[in-house]
């Protein structure tokens, strides 16, 4: 396992574009901390994020994992191109000739996906801990370390999404087209969802249930948006008479669905590489 990771990390790290993207990802991730310093004053309207409670334990786990997940596209590009490059350089063929098995090849890519997701999760954990201790109104251990399932969901979310990217890289062989296809797929899911829900099935919740099984929808369902959970927003909603009974918790079933997709994507990647003549 160490050997496979060492091989893959050398391939990524020696590539300048991948290296810069990876570094930028972690730098930009740490910019979440800067949200704390946002202070807007427009006339009587004052907006100071840090004082709105977004960095309160345990809400911070939810808020930070949600925001951090938005940045996953940086690493998605690295992962798609690490796969597509192997085709365009002809090095997939060469790796196999040099004595790597097809199974090892896919495994080395998957291990990298896991490593990226794990490092990012660890990073978000450390950063939230620091931010939380600086700004949170509650710092009792019991509260600090509650709701940690958001970190698990974050990890699974990244692994699932990156596995999808990896699969597209294997399938399409060209980075740009694979990323384009990712976007097209996103549109397909969103548009077909909207059409089916509002035009065909008359807002039936069954459509939501069905779409919870789609790859991108299931990945995005893992962590529900945290904004409407804030007291400030809640107050506004009550004021305009909208009742909000949203469920913000992490569901074991959604984690299971994403893990199933991950397994499917990795297995299909292996099947494709096994079947293709290079």
């Amino acid at each position: 396992m160490k050997r496979l990771l060492a091989i893959e990390l050398q391939k990524i790290w020696k590539n300048r574009a991948s290296r810069i993207l990876t570094i930028s990802y972690f730098v930009i991730l740490s910019f979440i901390a800067l949200i704390a310093s946002v202070k807007l004053e427009i006339g009587y309207f004052k907006l100071h994020f840090a004082e709105m409670g977004i960095f309160n334990f345990p809400f911070i786990w939810h808020f930070n994992t949600y925001i951090a997940a938005l940045l996953k596209f940086f690493l998605a590009i690295v992962i798609v191109s690490m796969m597509a490059n192997e085709y365009s350089y002809g090095t997939l063929k060469q790796n196999l000739i040099d004595g790597m098995s097809k199974q090892e090849f896919v495994l080395s890519k998957f291990l990298t996906v896991i490593l990226f997701a794990f490092t990012s999760t660890l990073f978000v954990f450390a950063m939230s801990l620091v931010l939380g201790y600086s700004f949170s109104s509650y710092t009792e251990l019991g509260i600090v370390f509650s709701d940690l399932e958001y970190l698990l969901a974050y990890f699974v979310k990244l692994v699932g999404f990156f596995s999808f990217c990896l699969f597209l890289g294997v399938l399409i062989k060209r980075s740009a087209f694979a990323i384009g296809f990712l976007f097209v797929w996103f549109l397909i899911e969103k548009i077909s969802f909207g059409y089916l829900k509002y035009e065909v099935f008359n807002k039936s919740p069954k459509v939501d249930d069905f779409y919870a099984y789609m790859p991108l929808e299931s990945i995005s369902n893992l962590i529900v948006e945290p904004f409407t959970r804030l007291n400030v927003i809640k107050n506004i909603q009550t004021a305009v008479g909208e009742s909000n009974v949203k469920d913000y918790s992490i569901h074991f079933s959604s984690i299971l669905i994403v893990l199933a997709w991950t397994a499917i994507f990795i297995f299909l990647s292996y099947k494709i590489i096994k079947k293709r003549d290079l």
Partner: protein, 297 residues
């Protein structure tokens, strides 16, 4: 007994309607230099691709080192270059070789030694993308030699190179062959195969036309060039020889083909006993090229 490195049995590959490799069987023994000859598209690269785990076979069997290990483990003891050199363009020569070391599971100690052999030491820290085709091909050879392979497989190693490049690659191949490494060389360049190989396999449209030693192939069409005081008497005499295939006369020399192996001394004695003295007797071999063209016609 020589140990078998690779044995291929009735290998077939179809690409849709195209039957690229038909019932190819082959045994590679340790210490020999094998050539696979064939025009473009005759199934050379496909056959090599199959045994190197990059092309899926349609049917048939192959086994490395007597079938004692899995293909990908066996390939760690094989050095192979297929068509064009494939490396990571953004890594230096040294880094690319180190990556191959990681894949093969060996330490980096051989990297410098192999770069010396192919004469790339002074460019070891240059990025692969800055290399000329000849240098890329030499780096590919260095990479194939990294693990001191049991067998070196070369597919068109001199394709697209300039005369100096071709010469350098041939020198390296000869050097490696002289050290007793088994070599399998696929090429459509006949003199290349004739110069370095001991055994040859001729393919056309995926079928084996000839499989055996290079000498065996060139001897098949051996002929004699003769001259005597009176060539017409000589021709009359030869016509009575039971094994003569055909006789012709060009530029004052009598060319005679036999339909079975004939020794020059035997022939000389036969003619002398019949009362004719030869003043010219040369045994000639058909070049591999002529033989190859005759086979693939």
């Amino acid at each position: 007994m020589e140990s078998t490195i690779l044995s291929i049995h009735k290998l077939n590959k179809r690409y849709g309607k195209i039957h690229a490799v038909k019932d190819v069987s082959l045994e590679i023994h340790k210490g020999n230099v094998y050539g696979i000859l064939g025009p473009n598209g005759s199934g050379k690269s496909t056959t090599l691709g199959i045994v190197l785990n990059v092309v899926n076979k349609t049917s048939g069997e192959y086994s490395w080192f007597g079938g004692t290990m899995k293909t990908h483990d066996a390939l760690k003891k094989v050095g192979a270059i297929i068509e064009r050199p494939n490396f990571y363009p953004y890594m230096s020569a040294k880094e690319n070789l180190e990556l191959v070391c990681k894949i093969k599971g060996i330490d980096y100690s051989k990297v410098t030694e192999k770069l010396e052999i192919v004469g790339l030491m002074d460019r070891k820290d240059s990025k692969f993308k800055t290399f000329s085709l000849g240098m890329k091909q030499r780096l590919a050879i260095a990479s194939a030699l990294l693990n001191d392979p049991e067998i070196l497989i070369l597919d068109e190693p001199t394709n697209g190179l300039d005369p100096q490049g071709i010469h350098q690659i041939r020198d390296i191949i000869r050097l490696i062959a002289s050290q007793g490494t088994t070599i399998l060389l696929a090429s459509h360049l006949l003199d290349e195969v004739e110069k370095v190989c001991s055994h040859v396999l001729v393919l056309r449209f995926g079928e084996i036309l000839y499989s055996g030693t290079v000498d065996g192939m060139t001897n098949q069409g051996a002929f004699f060039e003769l001259q005597a005081e009176s060539n017409s008497n000589l021709i009359t005499l030869l016509k009575n020889h039971p094994d003569v295939d055909k006789i012709s006369e060009t530029e004052g020399k009598v060319i005679v083909h036999f339909n079975k192996d004939m020794d020059a001394g035997q022939l000389n004695k036969y003619i002398f006993d019949k009362g004719i003295c030869l003043n010219h007797l040369v045994q000639k071999k058909v070049s591999l090229e002529q033989q190859f063209l005759a086979l693939t016609k």
